[in-house]
């Protein structure tokens, strides 16, 4: 596994995404919320130690629903299958905001400050997403050395890829990659973690991501 221990300075946080996570659509928070948000972001820069890792696998797409990586079969569903089927290799990744940020969230919860807890949760989600952008960029650099391009990233739990398949995906990594554990329901801990996959190929491309391809109408990230 190629893994990277990061500082928050290595990532680019998108404030607009944090605003969206907080429920501000087409508008921005008021001064008081911005002040709390700035304080939390500053604290995150002090404590947060994100980690990312990936493996490149040869793979096949034997039917319209499955992918086989290193002899391991995963049901990724028709939608993702369609976006990956021109790929010749696959980059499977994990990314996490890290235990330190998780501890910070826990501490805020214990303090009873629900406003800060809510805002920090939104910041944590964006740190995890920024970590994904970082790791997919690393995969793209790796792919470029082979003359390959990458697709968008796809994750268990979205676009018809069931979250229980996450166990299979994690078996492609060493135990607890980047310190991430799976529970019995296949949820990750630290909670601000993301796993997923990109396809690599000569003719694949990144496309503007759209929630329209995913049938998860009730998704909390839906825009």
């Amino acid at each position: 596994m190629n893994s990277f221990q990061l500082q928050l300075n290595d990532l680019t946080l998108n404030r607009q995404e944090i605003y969206l996570n907080l429920g501000y659509i087409g508008t921005v928070p008021d001064e008081r919320v911005i002040k709390i948000l700035d304080g939390i972001i500053n604290r995150a820069y002090e404590i947060c130690r994100p980690q990312v890792g990936y493996v490149l696998c040869k793979g096949e797409l034997p039917d319209r629903y499955h992918i086989q990586l290193n002899g391991l079969s995963m049901k990724i569903g028709r939608i993702i299958h369609g976006y990956l089927n021109s790929s010749s290799q696959f980059g499977v990744f994990v990314a996490t905001a890290g235990k330190e940020f998780d501890d910070y969230l826990h501490w805020l919860k214990q303090s009873g400050d629900i406003v800060s807890e809510f805002i920090a949760d939104a910041v944590g989600s964006e740190i995890a997403e920024a970590s994904v952008r970082y790791v997919t960029h690393k995969i793209a650099e790796d792919a470029a050395t082979k003359g390959l391009l990458i697709t968008n990233s796809y994750s268990p739990g979205y676009c018809g890829w069931h979250v229980r398949e996450q166990k299979q995906l994690f078996s492609l990594f060493p135990n607890e990659p980047c310190g991430i554990k799976l529970n019995d329901s296949c949820l990750m801990h630290p909670v601000k973690s993301v796993s997923g996959m990109v396809g690599l190929g000569e003719s694949v491309e990144l496309t503007p991501y759209s929630c329209n391809i995913c049938g998860l109408q009730t998704c909390y990230k839906r825009k």
Partner: protein, 212 residues
Amino acid sequence: MADLNILYDSIVSGKLEPAVAVTLEAIAEGINPQLIINDYMVKAMEEIGARFECGKAYVPNLLMSARAMKGSLEILKPLLKGDTSSSMGKVVIGTVKGDLHDIGKNIVASMLEGCGFEVINLGVDVTSEKFIEAIIEHNADIICMSALLTTTMTYMKEVVEAIEAAGLKNKVKIMIGGAPVSQSYATKIGAIGFSDNANSAVQKAKELMASN
């Protein structure tokens, strides 16, 4: 003289310190605590809730208002001892077994507390046994279950069945919430209430208490 309109404004705008200051002033002047709550504080929460529903306020605003309301309520509660209206009702709340998502559930818990409910927050990954124990121990009026995933929401049905098996179905009102659930799912599994945001959760809990 205490200006209770400032208390109202402070709760609507989510300002804890002035809300507490006016509440203390009002108590010192001997103003009836129930009047303070009913005529100013509850109305202020209704106002911020209405603003939220029409998109003029956001979750952080709701939470700040709930914090201000709770701060004032904490001062008034000791003066309401023995008064049956001192609590809106007891709520046991938790994210169901297998699910680790808790921010949405915590927001609902804070709003319920801010609006006068006594809340027992069981945290995440809560088994049906823990829900049942808490219902009995705290003599709860309402149980609120949360789940963020389609894979974990199915456990809500198990909890409902456990409540039935324990003979508590007629005693405790069952509410559910979370991204993948709906009113039809609530009805299907035997839950009475459903809400898709913290404000409507409070409204639903109030309705359920009123129907007792």
